[in-house]
Symmetry: C6
Subunit: 65 residues, 6 copies
């Protein structure tokens, strides 16, 4: 999935992040670029480059273009 767009749901209050998957390591820590935070289907804010901690990821869904 490297290079493609994904939505990642994190632990904590309904936290969804959408971005382009730059890299991933063995612990499923993810590096996303062009990341946007989404809440209730609305784009909340732009975060740019973000590191997501693997063990706090609930699920990863590829976004179709």
């Amino acid at each position: 999935m490297i290079g493609s767009k994904v939505q990642v749901e994190m632990k904590g209050d309904q936290h969804i992040l959408e971005g382009t998957l730059q890299s991933a390591d063995d612990y499923l820590n993810l590096h996303l670029v062009d990341t946007t935070e989404i809440a209730d289907g609305q784009r909340l804010r732009s975060l740019g480059s973000v590191v997501l901690r693997g063990n706090n990821i609930i699920l990863i869904v590829p976004v179709e273009n």
Copy 2:
């Protein structure tokens, strides 16, 4: 259970996902296809291909046909 239909309960607000188990790794990370999100017994939305983080899985139940 590879190839069969399963329901997976995730951490976070009553999150249940039903799909066909494509693969699983040592950490119990699961790859489901034809995945549907279920809440209060209702099919909520189709997610297609989904990666579930093993350490946030509560339980896995095989679905009988």
Copy 3:
């Protein structure tokens, strides 16, 4: 405890499962059969064969017959 009846309390809203312990691995992932979900002391629903993720187990209590 393999072969005997256990109650397992999971993370998430007061989730208790009672079943016969079929197997357990190094990570304390448990395979229960004849599993029943219990809430507020009431049998809620039968789940049959269930895999419980070890790191989301709070405690395990053997059930005496």
Copy 4:
């Protein structure tokens, strides 16, 4: 602390267990005997022999006699 009385606070709603520490493994999984569940300073119920999952332990306090 093996053989001595301890109070263990677990994750989840204010869950405190008091018992005699029978054994502990590398993951801090604990086996308590003569275990009692405590809530709001009251003894709630006797659980007897209990296995506590290490990663869901918040803290362990030795009980002085």
Copy 5:
């Protein structure tokens, strides 16, 4: 930081513990002595010797004298 005073914030409802750091292992499990529980800036109760489970620590702050 061994031998010095620290405040440790734990998972669960705003749980802060202040004590002298006696030892720490590879998993960041901490052994504190002369430990006090703090809530809303008030000293709540003395706990004496306490073992804190590393993976449930949120953050550690050294206390300046």
Copy 6:
């Protein structure tokens, strides 16, 4: 990112910490200096030198100057 300013979102009630990343280990435990706690976009209090437990980190965002 060592030496640069980061915002780190932790598990627990909307906990955001901003500081200069001094060091990080294999478990993504972070050592921040000049750390400030932020809530609802307001600077809440100065914490100075802080150790953040890797497995309770949700996400890390570099702060642009």
